[in-house]
């Protein structure tokens, strides 16, 4: 089990990395209110790859098992995450932007998330371990980051009627007059 001290070190490293990430990253000016993947890219250019990497882990057991359905479900969920973020107020978009900037900064990804490969090649087990560490972290900030990813990804999938047959939800009733 990881000790509290390790988390503290990770937190300090994360803070420093975050500063560097903001300094280094090459991103368009922060413009809230884009749509879909554009909105994700507007937050941070790494955001689409990060979301696409965490979607299959958060939704393990829920997504279709085989391609091409699986691939398109991941793509739609990533798109819907972007759409949902575009509707959030500027303060929330900015915080998510900071989170994606941090995770998108290579040294922070390795040191803090402990995901070795770039996000678009990341190993599912490493991504799962990263999410689990943040979920149970002693740091409120990391737990809140996990919570944000949890909420936005699960909402993006279960708001999609494609997810409903597997959970036995028939959809809204037909009330046409």
């Amino acid at each position: 089990m990881t000790s509290r001290r390790t988390f503290l070190a990770a937190g300090v490293a994360g803070g420093i990395a975050l500063g560097f990430a903001w300094w280094w990253r090459d991103r368009p000016a922060f413009v809230p209110g884009g749509a879909g993947v554009d909105a994700l890219t507007a937050l941070d250019r790494s955001a689409p790859a990060i979301v696409a990497a965490i979607v299959p882990v958060l939704l393990a057991g829920a997504l279709p098992a085989a391609d091409p359905e699986r691939r398109s479900a991941i793509d739609e969920t990533t798109l819907n995450v972007g759409r949902a973020i575009a509707g959030l107020p500027p303060a929330a978009q900015q915080e998510l932007g900071e989170l994606f900037a941090l995770l998108g900064f290579g040294p922070a990804r390795i040191a803090l998330a402990r995901v070795v490969a770039p996000w678009n090649e990341a190993d599912d087990d490493e991504v799962a371990a990263f999410l689990e560490r943040w979920r149970v972290s002693g740091f409120l900030l990391l737990r809140s980051a996990y919570d944000a990813l949890h909420q936005i990804v699960l909402a993006a999938w279960y708001g999609n009627p494609r997810s409903w047959p597997a959970i036995g939800y028939p959809g809204p009733p037909n009330i046409s007059p």
Binding site: L59, A86, Q151, A155, G159, P172, P173, P177
Partner: protein
Amino acid sequence: MTTAIVPTVRPDPIRSGIDAGWKIIDASALARDLALEADVVIVGSGAGGGTAAEILASAGLKVILVEEGPLRSSRDFRMRESDAYPALYQESAARKTRDKAINILQGRCVGGGTTVNWTTSFRTPEATLRHWAAAHGLTGFGVSDLAPWFERMEARLSIAPWEAPPNANNAALARGAERLGIPTGIIRRNVKGCWDLGYCGLGCPIDAKQSMLVTTIPAALDQGATLLTRARALEFRQERDRVVALTCAGMAADGVLPGPHRITLRARSFIAAAGGIGSPALLLRSQVPDPHHLIGKRTFLHPTLVSAAILPERVEPWAGTPQSVHSDHFLDTLEPAGPMGFKLEAPPVHPILGAITLPNHGSGHAAWMREFPHLQVVLALLRDGFHPDSTGGTVALRSDGTPVLDYPFTPYVWEGVRRAFATMAEIQFAAGATRVMPVHGSGTGYTQWGAAKRAIDAFELRPLVTPVVSAHVMGGCPLGADARTSVVDLSGRHHHLANLHVLDGSLFPTSIGANPQLSIFGIAARLAAGLAATLAKRGA
């Protein structure tokens, strides 16, 4: 053979009113700045603002009603969470406290919370009113003082006990409680011709819910009131002890940011009715006099805990009247200022709400979601604001002027949380649950009450380990006779600005200890009638 003429479109009172010439301005579509004048400007169109709008307009006063959200009506309400949350709720239903530990559901649309709430209607509990008199010095807010106002609003909004059988989700709460000797009651609802669909939270698609959207606001518009939608109230401009104007921004088309155009509203009287976060924020932005730093303090939430269970039979928690059964046993058997009491209810569960509430992710989460038709859920709403260790939260402003609520937890609150988890689990097992999962970061389901109880006793209770939700924001501009401890006087008038009133849930000196809409309707009606009489006396 004759052919019946079947209407292809259900009547929609909002569309009919627009066709009949209601004065409605969509501020996101303005091509230039705008200035308007009225007798009264009301900020917010929910339970407080909607109630006040009808009463003031009926008194012959010229009213402008300002709403940040859009005007949507039954024809738009498609019973889909992915449409409804971004369109009808504050921050797409993802509004959070500063540390993100509490998710707050609040309406942002014409009708405010009343357009999206679950229609549950309780009068302010007697224990709450007695506490307000004893601990906060409120006079004239006793049960008999308010009764005529509750009666008036109950008649206006068709509030009556729900007479059809509860859905399976609510029936399980009643059954489990009864087996444990815990009394329950049937909930009263503001509905007329309800079809028992279960989608109240996404906007009533058949106009059965007697929200402000289909009752008081149409009545005010019929009397010539003006409705300004998608306009954010920025600040009250003041001269000496009076508000002279309200400055608003038309929102951009996406509703996320203010757009380029400003609206200046001048009036004799101004009302803040933007809710327990919005009203304090507007007063803070306006820098109204606040010598004792009371605005935005003591903001209460009814912090709410969730317990999920699997029943052998089908529950279909998405279908049928969302809330029809409640228990006040754990309020009534505790003194308000004693250990934290809680009210028990059941929520409607739709896929997004269910998925984001169930803890953890991956295969464990997916396994619970596959049990969706058998899912039974109980809520415990904690009564905050009555004990010295329950002082609620504080509304502050971010650098962009938008509000954020800081709500710290105290050991007193966590003790109530632990008791609530245990009570809910015991009731669910008594109702026949094969598994119970208190919604907590441990994410574990239990098959026996004993094991669940031991686990709950050992739960680590911390922010974002124990998910907490709220659908009731109250306080922040409390009523009172003493300007050292309250923001507005007993008529709802600001202690330092003669023509500014607050008429919404932010008036309450504590939480209500029950779903607050009827408390807001009744108290806002009384204070609005008082204001109407004062303005009429003074003449135009």
